[in-house]
């Protein structure tokens, strides 16, 4: 099997034309951060090339640091968004890490 074959979704052939069988998001947070990014852009909070530049930077850094199997596109997107949010002054690193610790410490099943 070639590299490209391994990347192709198995269900491509019989899938409906709307998505052509592709699962775009593998985890709910990926669609949330995508929606968050576009909603902020739609609201005029930043120019698209600002994010694009951050994404290119995040991808280039990530590609250098991980094996190809570990490549994680939405992780790069998340990192790029964090960078833009930080540049815009929407958060401080302290506020972000503080909230992350708080959320990570929740007992599981908190939202049930």
């Amino acid at each position: 099997m070639s590299e490209i074959d391994q990347l192709l979704p198995d269900e491509d052939a019989g899938a409906p034309p709307r998505s052509n069988g592709e699962i775009v998001f593998e985890a709910p947070w990926e669609s949330r951060v995508f929606g968050l990014t576009l909603a902020l852009h739609d609201a005029g909070r930043f120019e698209w090339p600002e994010f694009q530049f951050a994404l290119i930077t995040a991808i280039a850094r990530h590609e250098k640091s991980v094996e190809p199997e570990a490549y994680h596109y939405w992780g790069c997107w998340l990192e790029a968004f964090r960078a833009v949010a930080s540049q815009k002054g929407w958060l401080t690193e302290a506020a972000l890490s503080g909230l992350e610790s708080e959320l990570a410490a929740r007992p599981h099943g908190h939202d049930h």
């Binding site: 990347l7 192709l8 947070w29 990926e30 949330r32 576009l38 929407w90």
Partner: protein, 199 residues
């Protein structure tokens, strides 16, 4: 060991924290975020591009407008994006095959194709299709004659590309509505051709 013992994914935590920090400041609402997700799940996808292609195949004046200014031509069918980028439509010809990539990240013509498939964003496709396009296309099952010129178009934040595939022979009697379902996402990226009988 139950699922409850798994540590939460740090990326999921980070995404949740970012969303909370920004919504708490009133920079964006949860409703707006959900609206974007719903829009891309329900309204935007390759079926939009397929309608553009079928129109171009059946309406020569539309085809000309599409090749001249893609952004304006897709707007005629009600498609457009907020990213403000140009859309350049490149047409396949008997001797010329076009294929689209974004070597640096994942630029893609969202209004007509939706979000890109995972292989389009993968480092292997992004680097190899430029160096050895014929070999990559062969892996997708597309064998091109030696005399066919392959043109690779590298997308950017400012310019997105879409391929206008060749209309398959044997479809002369088909209407625009009959043609659209034949057009696949992969054909509009340029890693496939349109077949008269799509499975």
């Amino acid at each position: 060991m139950s699922d409850h013992d798994h540590a939460p994914d740090p990326l999921a935590i980070r995404a949740e924290a970012l969303e909370k920090l920004l919504t708490d400041q009133g920079l964006v609402t949860a409703e707006a975020i959900e609206g974007v997700i719903r829009h891309y799940a329900e309204d935007v996808g390759p079926m939009n591009g397929a309608r553009v292609v079928a129109r171009a195949w059946t309406d020569p004046a539309y085809r000309e407008r599409l090749l001249e200014n893609g952004r304006e031509a897709i707007a005629e069918l009600g498609f457009g994006g907020a990213q403000g980028e140009r859309l350049v439509v490149v047409e396949n010809e008997p001797q010329v095959h076009n294929v689209v990539v974004c070597t640096l990240c994942s630029c893609y013509p969202w209004p007509v194709l939706g979000l890109p498939p995972s292989w389009y964003k993968d480092p292997a496709y992004r680097s190899r299709v430029v160096r050895e396009p014929r070999a990559v296309l062969r892996e997708f099952g597309l064998e091109l004659p030696d005399e066919t010129e392959v043109r690779v178009w590298d997308s950017s934040a400012e310019i997105r590309y879409m391929v206008l595939p060749q209309r398959p022979v044997g479809t002369e009697s088909l209407s625009e509505a009959d043609l659209a379902p034949l057009v696949s996402r992969d054909a509009m990226i340029g890693v496939a051709q349109v077949e008269a009988n799509r499975e």
